[in-house]
Subunit: 364 residues, 2 copies
DNA sequence: CTGAAAGCGCTTACAG
DNA sequence: CTGAAAGCGCTTACAG
């Protein structure tokens, strides 16, 4: 299996059996058992309660320094690590938060998660990520998963589920912040963070109009934030007395963008500008236009939405709408933590509008 | 708070107090308690055991159809969802897997996670993501976290920790697959998946040499896979009788690449090709070169490693090394599941080498 | 066919 | 200062 420098290789292949011998010596069932407080109690001749007290440094109840030392040392020796699951059961808290996102490979979401995790971390919470694939089935599965009590709080981006469904599933048992893509509506326990998608889309459309474009198409997918962005697009077009046209994409991926544009180009494509509902769609659009021999922005101007890192790497660099996903994630985690650890416990749901920014580059 | 179409807005601001009223009506402590099996038992007049039996469809022990129906209905009515934490405590299994990655915003990792999650999902496992930031401290924290029993298995990408540290922390209590960046060495319980980083780097360097480049620098960071890739670079250069030069980056981000190249350009930069240890570094390099008025590939050729989605979007498109992160993630999850649910339980650790592929584009 | 009981590993009043 | 005991919500032998 010593591979030469040949760049083409074969699928997953086992490379070593040496390890078999190594393993034989270890790993009988016993080695796998994790030491518990009881083990430490037995080893030190103390009670399990005393062990728990010492290990948790409970202050009012002072165990004698000598005993404490012995317990601590034995714990160390046995490699004791508290069983978080057991602790969670007792405390009814998991100290874990989750991010539910439609597609972790869309660069906008890792940024959200990163910001979220930095705040969660600082407060001693772990972070889970649940990828819904943007489908109703998997969004429901995420909801079921939430109901099972894995986490204390969640930042959720849902494309399909409505408020009612969320409320019945969650029932205030897990703190929730939603990245809202529709217009804000108050909710009993759910906080919402959002940007004004319609306003942003309208502003971007207006930029295109101001540049003299008259035949502008929007490439969008009606789910998630697509609807609001289309609304903004329509508003701007209508205000300018122009006819809006929507090119429908199957989802928000680059591939979907390329596909939809290819289909459109096969017909009688006469638009001078395409406003894509997100950057991945815009990237797909640009690729298809280029492949068809149309120049961007000379023949067709293109604009996107999100300002993912690739946006400024494109040639021409992509005109788009920026919101700070990282800041949004961070802020959302802080909302959850304030709700869980106070002072916001029991506070009714609120909406928080975050700023957006038009980023004008060369593609439009 | 009705925002106009102004693109510049203010930081997080509260938008609605309407919800306060809505909330008043609900959410007193009682509503928050999740129904348990005991609640169902009380409501139906059956024992908690019977409830558990019915809800878990334990086959040999048949509860009468009538009682079963009543229990099921009551469970539905009360909105019963099993407490996963309690179940986990009893079963000593969490049915959760984790991915430990250095940086979720590096597009190569979401792909890994996506592949992983698709396999985990199919087997009924949930997936957690832990971001280590590529620092030793946070990698250790990840290890501690593992020891706490949150998950049954993990796919880990560590840049700093060595085998010994992993083994003491994990002790065969959690199944582990490591994306190995050093040369493969067998391990008692840890499976390893990897590509031959040295061979890939050597092959890519050879491509540059074959194109006539003599002054080739490698932009790299010595942690993680950087070391092996440098080794391959050195091997190729040495074989060709050329002098290798390493430009050191602080980490594997685009920013670090840009910084390191800027520093290098400030000196007496005389290289005709730069081979970056990953694509983000390559992207940073290209940006800096362009800013300095150097053309790619005419003045300086650039190659990367990973083939992240942006690589082909760049102008010029980036020459790089591709491995299928998605396939690697999928495969790793399958390894874990086979270990946890059989048939590979207790099998010694093995190494699995995956293929790589040189992707020659315009940047070199 | 059904229930009482023990126990998973921990925390937390409550007695001594 | 220390320990016996109850309980978190569940599963799983074990009796009836």
């Amino acid at each position: 299996m010593k591979n030469s420098t040949s760049p083409q290789q074969v699928p997953p292949a086992e490379t070593s059996h040496l390890s078999a011998a190594v393993n034989k010596a270890e790993a009988p069932a016993e080695a796998l058992r994790r030491p518990t407080q009881r083990d430490i109690a037995v080893a030190t001749g103390m009670s399990q309660t005393a062990v728990s007290l010492v290990l948790n440094r409970v202050e009012p109840c002072t165990v004698s320094a000598e005993v404490r030392e012995r317990i601590l040392q034995t714990a160390q020796q046995l490699g004791y690590v508290p069983n978080r699951v057991a602790r969670n059961l007792k405390s009814a808290r998991t100290r874990t938060l989750a991010c539910i996102v439609p597609d972790i490979t869309n660069p906008t979401y890792p940024a959200l998660v990163r910001g979220f995790q930095s705040a969660a971390d600082a407060a001693g919470y772990d972070t889970m990520i649940f990828d819904t694939d943007g489908t109703p089935e998997r969004e429901r599965r995420a909801l079921q998963w939430l109901a099972q009590g894995h986490v204390d709080g969640v930042l959720a981006v849902f494309f399909h589920l409505d408020e009612a469904e969320l409320l019945t599933a969650v029932r205030g048992r897990v703190a929730m912040v939603q990245v809202e893509s529709q217009a804000y509506r108050p909710s009993p326990y759910i906080d919402k963070v959002y940007i004004d998608n319609a306003a942003a889309a309208q502003a971007m459309t207006q930029v295109l109009i101001d540049k003299g474009h008259q035949r502008i198409a929007m490439l969008s997918c009606p789910i998630g934030p697509g609807a609001e962005r289309q609304r903004g697009f329509h508003a701007a077009m209508q205000k300018a007395g122009l006819a809006p046209h929507i090119i429908a994409a199957d989802d928000f991926t680059q591939a979907a963008g390329a596909r939809a544009m290819a289909a459109e180009l096969a017909g009688d494509f006469r638009y001078s500008a395409v406003f894509a509902a997100n950057d991945l769609l815009a990237i797909g659009t640009m690729a298809t236009l280029r492949a068809a021999g149309r120049r961007v922005p000379d023949d067709v101007a293109v604009a996107g939405f999100d300002d993912i890192p690739s946006a400024q790497l494109l040639q021409p660099a992509l005109t788009t709408v920026r919101r700070s996903e990282q800041a949004m994630g961070h802020f959302a985690a802080e909302l959850l933590i304030a709700r869980l650890d106070g002072p916001d416990t029991g506070r009714p749901g609120r909406g928080f509008e975050l700023p957006f920014q038009l980023v004008l580059r060369d593609s439009a």
